[in-house]
Symmetry: D2
Subunit: 364 residues, 4 copies
């Protein structure tokens, strides 16, 4: 029988991707399993063995932690990337990291397809628009008509000798990496229902801040495809980095550059969230933000205390802060008469506006 080609499957070791692996083989594909280590708490060797036992042609387990931090987390921090004022994009920023390596493996191995474990639901696939050689085989009818829910997967697993988890499934799904943990779906889909406290296990890498509950949020967000969904996120490391960066940035960056850059950062956040990391506009925005960071360096002292990140002080050789200028006790270079002029000129326009509205127009 002739193979339909080789698929590089982003494999997690769980029920879903295990079923997918077997099903893909059933459909006539060769499957290469790929598992990225981006800091999640995982028994990688067990996952390897499972993939092999299920018939994976090859298994790649790769440590992407450094490049995740350097190529994806840093740029997000530099952008002060926050989606819809709250979400620090911990999951969204990991996807292009995984996808890049997956495509790389496909190239090296001569695979024709890449795939991932989103079981026919749109919301998880949104961030893959970027991967350019992706075939969304899990959006094809043969698959989603076959597997309409967890029960179908369980039955399929039992039939094909795929180990079925013995512990009951958590009533939500979880996604963890170096930067954050997210919880969503299941019982969390009811936006009114209070989260079960202590759901947070702490992010694996930054356990101190995790222990303190830094960066925990419960939000409803707007997905790319236009629906609202609820997510609970814990981003201890990311929150600290963001706050520290924000502080040193304002300390060293010109005010007007900052305003322009702030708008670009919001755009960048939307692009990351919507899965457009690998797009010309994202590349462009990232280039611009990079430029803005040239002088953004320094030291921020902060305390993590009772779930809060407090900035205590900052210093930088690139500071634009002028202590002498700001002082209330030193006249310095500053002429109060200039301020009068500044105020009066700013008011020229306001005076005309009020003149039109029938206000008296006495000189200020």
């Amino acid at each position: 029988i002739m193979s339909k080609g080789t698929v590089v499957l982003a494999y997690s070791g769980g029920l879903d991707t295990s079923c997918i692996l077997v099903w893909l083989k059933e459909q006539g594909y060769d499957v290469i399993a790929f598992l990225a280590n981006i800091g999640q708490d995982e028994d990688f060797e067990a996952a390897r063995k499972k993939a092999e036992s299920l018939g994976a042609k090859k298994v790649f387990i790769e440590d992407l932690r450094s490049e995740f931090v350097e190529d994806f987390i840093w740029p997000s921090v530099q952008a002060n990337a926050v989606y819809e004022d709250r979400y620090l994009l911990g999951t969204a920023v990991a996807r292009p990291c995984i996808a890049r390596q997956q495509v790389e493996i496909a190239r090296k191995e001569g695979a024709n397809f890449v795939s991932h474990g989103a079981t026919g639901k749109v919301k998880k696939t949104r961030n893959f628009t970027c991967s350019l050689k992706n075939i969304y085989i899990f959006l094809i009818p043969e698959f989603y008509n076959r597997f309409r829910g967890r029960t179908d997967l369980m039955e399929y697993a039992q039939k094909h000798g795929i180990p079925v988890p013995v512990t009951p499934k958590a009533p939500w799904s979880m996604d963890a990496n170096l930067m954050h943990i997210s919880y969503e779906s299941g019982i969390l889909e009811n936006p009114k229902v209070r989260q079960v406290l202590n759901v947070f296990v702490g992010s694996p890498c930054l356990s101190l801040s995790g222990k303190h509950g830094v960066g925990r949020i419960d939000i409803v967000e707007n997905r790319f495809i236009g629906m609202k969904s609820r997510g609970i996120y814990e981003t201890p490391g990311g929150t600290i980095l963001l706050k520290a960066h924000l502080d040193i940035e304002t300390f060293t960056m010109d005010k007007e550059v900052r305003r322009i850059k702030q708008g670009l950062g919001i755009k960048f956040s939307e692009l990351i969230y919507n899965g457009f990391w690998y797009s010309p506009e994202c590349e462009f925005v990232q280039h611009c933000i990079n430029k803005s960071q040239e002088n953004v360096e320094g030291k921020v002292q902060l305390s993590v205390f009772k779930g809060q990140v407090y900035i205590l002080g900052r210093e930088s050789s690139k500071s634009l802060y002028n202590e002498e200028l700001v002082s209330m006790d030193v006249q310095g270079d500053y002429d109060p008469c200039d301020a009068s002029g500044f105020i009066r000129i700013n008011a020229v326009r306001l005076r005309e506006h009020h003149r039109l509205q029938g206000f008296s127009s006495t000189k200020q």
Copy 2:
């Protein structure tokens, strides 16, 4: 001797405005003292007596707390107004509230001038560009050449029978109202120096959240006039309101309206900060933001815990959240095939981009 006219002076009861009161009289003005109650912790009656004893023609002490909340804090919360990603504008938003009443008194009393206690330094006056009949007499040379620092004020006070504070002046200045307390200048002008802990006395009105240290920040910000300055702020009530509003807004507002409104909110924040509350553009932006809030209503459950505000859940009759749509277990109205199409169409542009760059352009 003929009076030069009547000045309505924003009087605080402190050393500076007491000296100003006396000095203005000395210069030939009649002075009306005006003290606004916007929630600060103050002995208003003592201030009244002091102003009278120093020669104020009249003293107005007015309770502006309700209108401060309704006309100024609410609009800021609706705008999610945050200046430079961090400052909730507690001081900036109080100024137009005070100024409005001050101008109103001037009108009723037939006064020609309004004035305030900024002693010749620009940074405090920035927010007054708005008051249209203001004469910045404290930016005139006669005054600022006379009073070049605290020592001059102390000497003047002693000479003119103005009570001099017996307790040593705090090594920073403080500004408090219903919404927040700010600390700045003095030893805080060194941005590197860690704040003395326990500086926070808690906001007078929202003592619960104040006790928990909600909304404490230490920042360097960009002033309107282009200098950077450091401020330490505690905005317990404002922080809770902002977080709750942000939550219910995302829950009830269309995604794309939200994006546009977010940009307008940033603009609004800058306008408030720069003292342009009473400007055509601020009026315009406020009108637009109002419109966006038509359906923003609901109930947010939150906990204030260890200095953090955690959202626990939300509900609203105007919610755009569709639990059925978002569910991973229900297919509902949602056709996976639509998602394929959406992804492919979004990729049309990306494929052309990569085609140009010499990538292979296999169909997704």
Copy 3:
């Protein structure tokens, strides 16, 4: 045989929609033909007879010219709506006008479906995302697999007694209304090829400006779906209105309001182009723009001369122009000293910037 329901078809009288009408009947639908008069040059009575003879259950020919101008062209002019700096949206702005009436007829007639004549190509359908009860039956495989090109349509027409045009089809397609004429596709798809001169027949309603060739452009634009396409447009009336409006707007609108409104106008243009007229964000933006127009009124004198629209002068009772203030020969309210202060304060920030870069920082 039971009807599958009633379709209100946007009928043009041409080959395509005639075939569609017949095909829809063949598929079991009742068809109501709807032809909107938005100022195009058309034999409406001939079209009515044709539709009736092809089996339309009812034919509606409605004069929408007034509402097209008032509800769609005016708002676009107020927004200074120009897509990608050049296209005045003459076709895009007509679609929601037609769609609104079509939906209205469907409602009155109890029809279940609306449809239009886009023959399976995405680019024409982009602007219909708005019509909420639309079923895109022409994107369904049965149709687009049946009709893959003009030849299929011609054959089908001959077989079903649909009159086939005797004159050869123009080597491009054309769309005309009160506001503009557009030419695209066919030989124009080659972006390098110079348009055949005298292609312009002049817009039907504004023949004077049309005669002068006002508002002719040849552009490549970005479609919503991410492809670039070429269009040649002639918008004589729209161009004159836009230029006149732009002039009186700047004359009467505050500078800073104008800046904010300019951004909203660009957003509005994109929304119109992408077919989101009936969306919450478009409604929101339109509301904001409306607000900005409160004082935008006056008289603009202009000449249409050799293809150009020249503004000659303007006047308005709402003008914010202050001739006295601007005069170089009158000192007026204007104190040169204020300007010095304004300049110096604006330079505070620049001086700090240069200080950091090692420039000497002598006072200005």
Copy 4:
């Protein structure tokens, strides 16, 4: 007598700067006259002799035409820089070019001051905020109190042997360079009054397009300082360049990059207009715009015909235009089913919006 220092004066040869030259010497300064050739029609040698005869220590006449085009006009064209939708910034973009050279001469000659010929009115000086060693001596009271109008200048000239123009002064002022000619003030200050036709003499360098009246506008614009003023501009070369660039840019630039860049271009225009060419934000924006231009190259064919610039066609090796994709007659890579999905997903959000508003929510 000791010199107060050396001033590099931007000298035009006219009455104003001649008086200034003499007055500066009178005040005790050494004066270096500097006249930049940026393409204006001028008898440079006559100006040199005049400056020398009036006592200039040195006279520099420098040909800046190449650098004006390369360092200032090109970047503006790349930004599609248009202020307030109409003004192509011909004067504003020349100022930083002149200022740069002026500062350079001051550096080389060891001069302490630079100055220019704005006679005490703010509007002309706005664009000099950038030059960091400027002293606005013409905003100092000694000067503006001395010269309150043209009559004072005429008298002063006669008294000091400065040649007085024999021809009557034009009833407006004019500023010309390679890129444009502007006319303002005088009788033009009445915004209602129609310009005298044939005022245009044609731009010196691009006389063909000038002859055709390309790029003539009569506008009211908002000055930096908040007043509105009227200007009549003729920018033949700039208009052609802008239109050609706009065309090739849309042809070769990704749609979403274009949107972001459009916003940056508007910002850039405001910065140029307000005199912030040499500011960190302008440098930043220029860097970003540069990046966006990487692939913007190609050939645009256009005709200049009856005052209009018509694009006839364009080609580029970097084109993102895909003729096959856009064609209505070729199915190609394009699947109509994708379009259905795209439309439906885009409507998810709209459906929820209408659901809330009580509309029926039948599936599209």
